[in-house]
């Protein structure tokens, strides 16, 4: 009844069809390889090039590794999820101005509450307020941007970049209105560095990111369905509105948490997620999400090792990521036309 015009090509292409078993082991093996790489890098980072006492170095450095793990998890999970919800592979929460927005929210909180309140208030309460405000606003903002009819990815990108500039400018405006000394205190509190993370903040962030992961894991298979787009997903029984709102919230929380910990990393998510798609060789989120996280750790740890130990450029990691990420982004946009 149904005939194929070119049976030879179909037979050839059919060879590519992996059997169900193969398809399952492929990404798993690749992920395991990454896991081994992460362990090796961690070991190398922890025990080599120790200037003084080993136990002291271990204590300090394991904090750094933990911070990297937390950031890689937050960025990897949030970017892959964001890509799926928005049905593209070029937008990332950071590029859409999420982290600039976090800085703005933090600034507004401090600006309105006053720096005196900031210094006396329970830091945990303050931090919780910031994250909560950030999450509420960004869910509203991004469901508005992405909730309606589908718009051109390029337009959304440009809107996101301009929004980012807008948020940054307002933040800076408000920061300028603060007493310079207070501002110094505040900015120290907001942005710890990757290599010298604040312990309390790190723990709080780790807990929050863990909660986010716990929320995403049961939805991993639903995320697979979301790759088909909203109409098909609804047709397959996905409560699209609720699921997307949940996921947007998780993304906001994770971005807020990681921004609070190490500051904005614009292109990191983009690199990690796109590398994960090709490395995992599967569209299934069961594989792409952990692969993205593992790749994130490899990039951060490997990059830090190379820059710090081999080249002696300790603090330049984010600049290098920006540079490589920008080129990679241009490559993606120009080559694929940003599907």
């Amino acid at each position: 009844m149904l005939t194929d015009p070119a049976p030879t090509t179909s037979a050839r292409r059919a060879d590519r069809s992996p059997r169900a078993g193969l398809r399952r082991t492929g990404p798993a093996v690749r992920l395991a390889a990454l896991g081994v790489l992460v362990l090796v890098l961690t070991a190398v980072y922890l025990v080599t090039d120790v200037p003084g006492s080993l136990s002291y170095a271990l204590e300090k450095r394991s904090l750094t590794v933990l911070a990297m793990l937390v950031v890689a998890t937050a960025v990897g999970v949030s970017t892959v999820v964001f890509h799926t919800i928005t049905q593209n592979r070029v937008l990332t929460p950071s590029i859409m101005g999420f982290d600039a927005f976090y800085v703005l929210v933090s600034t507004v909180v401090v600006f309105t509450a006053g720096s005196a309140a900031f210094l006396t208030a329970d830091p945990f309460v303050l931090w919780a307020v910031q994250v909560a405000v950030m999450v509420a606003f960004s869910v509203v903002l991004f469901t508005w941007l992405f909730g309606g009819k589908r718009r051109s990815i390029h337009l959304m990108l440009l809107v996101g970049i301009v929004l980012g500039t807008f948020f940054r400018s307002i933040s800076e405006w408000m920061q300028r209105m603060l007493d310079p000394l207070d501002f110094q205190v505040l900015s120290d509190a907001f942005f710890a560095s990757l290599t010298r993370p604040d312990e309390t903040l790190l723990l709080l962030t780790a807990v929050l990111v863990a909660l986010g992961v716990a929320a995403v894991v049961p939805l991993l298979r639903t995320l697979d369905v979301l790759t088909l787009g909203e109409p098909a997903a609804v047709g397959l029984g996905v409560d699209h509105r609720r699921v997307v709102l949940t996921l947007f919230t998780v993304v906001s929380v994770m971005v807020a948490a990681s921004t609070a910990l190490v500051g904005p990393v614009l292109f990191f998510g983009l690199i990690v997620a796109n590398l994960a798609y090709s490395w995992a060789g599967s569209f299934r989120h069961v594989w792409t999400v952990p692969t993205a996280v593992a790749l994130g750790v490899v990039c951060l740890l490997g990059g830090q090792l190379v820059l710090e130990r081999a080249l002696g450029f300790g603090g330049a990691l984010s600049t290098v990521i920006d540079f490589a990420g920008g080129l990679f982004f241009l490559y993606l946009v120009l080559r694929k036309g940003a599907r």
């Binding site: 009819k149 718009r151 051109s152 390029h154 337009l155 990108l157 440009l158 809107v159 970049i161 301009v162 929004l163 500039t165 807008f166 940054r168 400018s169 307002i170 800076e172 405006w173 300028r176 209105m177 614009l266 450029f313 603090g315 330049a316 600049t319 290098v320 920006d322 540079f323 920008g326 080129l327 982004f329 241009l330 946009v333 120009l334 036309g337 940003a338």
Partner: protein, 339 residues
């Protein structure tokens, strides 16, 4: 893009007198703002203090040495940045570009960093020249890269430009970081006219001269905006006009950068607003773009000076907020019309 559609007769007839009225209004607005700009500041410089001829003539001295140069610089920078954006838009045939969304500004900044490192004591003329040459390279690189954009997509072009700028910016930041020049870089990336005074601002006049060049070549730029084939058909040397346009853009960018630093979005929003008002004929648009650009910059500078009196906040922050809002409005307005 909507290039050079002749005004439909039905609307142009009643619109013309209104436009003349608007022209007068904008002119008066600029005059009022410029006068206000002369008398705003920490030191008491007011018509009263000038006329009363107070003891040592500080007021008159301040007026000549600081306030007049500042106001002149503001007017020239605003006018020329608007023109730079307008010409850039004609060269690229895209409404959403200007030096700071095409990497030109970032290249010029890299040039400035280069001179600071290689020839620390170089005169401002030299610095401006080097920055201009780098800006020219930046324009050329951008025009080359944009040619690779698969389809001339309206929003993809500025997107590519911004990313290009990001990559170049990362290189600049990296070197600044290595050479301990982040402080200077910060200063350039924030446009402010606070440091403008007699003997330190005269290079803006070069930018002003470029406005005149643009005006003279206005019709050619109009034709260029219709494309190479069209221009060649009309017997125009396409390449030469493009070259002139590139030089104008690069020189304006460099001159303003050296005098005040980066001022984002201005070249983008002003020509777009003008295009909404009177259409895309470059000859007709140039005076409007120049005057409106000046109005916007002078107004924003007044805000920057007064909002945290007696301190100043950088002009670029104010322009960033205002410009981003206008830019977003332009983007989303276009969308609502396109669908």
């Amino acid at each position: 893009m909507t290039a050079l559609h002749p005004q439909p007769t039905s609307t142009s007839t009643p619109a013309r007198p209104r436009r003349t009225g608007a022209g007068v209004l904008v002119g008066v607005l600029l005059a009022v703002l410029a006068v206000a700009s002369l008398f705003i500041g920490v030191s008491d410089v007011s018509p009263v203090s000038l006329l009363s001829g107070d003891s040592d003539g500080t007021a008159a001295f301040l007026l000549v040495a600081s306030r007049i140069p500042r106001t002149v610089a503001l007017v020239l920078a605003g006018a020329s940045l608007g023109i730079a954006g307008l010409i850039m838009q004609m060269l690229v045939r895209n409404k959403f570009v200007e030096p700071s969304t095409t990497g030109v500004t970032e290249f010029a900044t890299l040039g400035m960093l280069g001179t600071t490192v290689v020839v620390p004591g170089m005169a401002v003329v030299g610095k401006t020249a080097v920055a201009a040459v780098f800006g020219l390279v930046g324009t050329w690189v951008f025009l080359r890269v944009v040619r690779a954009v698969p389809v001339r997509q309206l929003v993809l072009v500025p997107l590519v430009g911004i990313m290009l700028g990001g990559v170049v910016g990362a290189v600049t930041t990296f070197f600044a970081y290595r050479l301990d020049l982040l402080q200077s870089l910060m200063q350039w990336s924030q446009g402010s006219f606070a440091g403008v005074m007699q003997g330190r601002y005269e290079f803006v006049w070069i930018a002003g001269a470029m406005v005149v060049v643009a005006w003279v070549a206005a019709d050619r730029f109009s034709v260029i905006g219709l494309g190479e084939e069209f221009a060649t058909n009309l017997g125009l040397d396409f390449r030469r006009v493009v070259a002139v346009g590139m030089v104008v853009v690069a020189v304006i960018t460099a001159a303003v950068l050296v005098t005040a630093g980066l001022i984002p979005f201005l070249g983008l929003v002003v020509p777009n607003v003008v295009s909404l008002l009177i259409g895309d004929n470059v000859r007709r648009a140039i005076p409007w773009v120049a005057v409106l650009g000046a109005v916007l910059v002078v107004a924003c500078d007044i805000v920057a000076r007064t909002v945290r009196f007696p301190y100043e906040i950088p002009l670029s922050v104010v322009v960033g907020v205002v410009g981003a809002v206008l830019f977003l409005w332009l983007l989303l307005r276009r969308r609502s019309r396109a669908h």
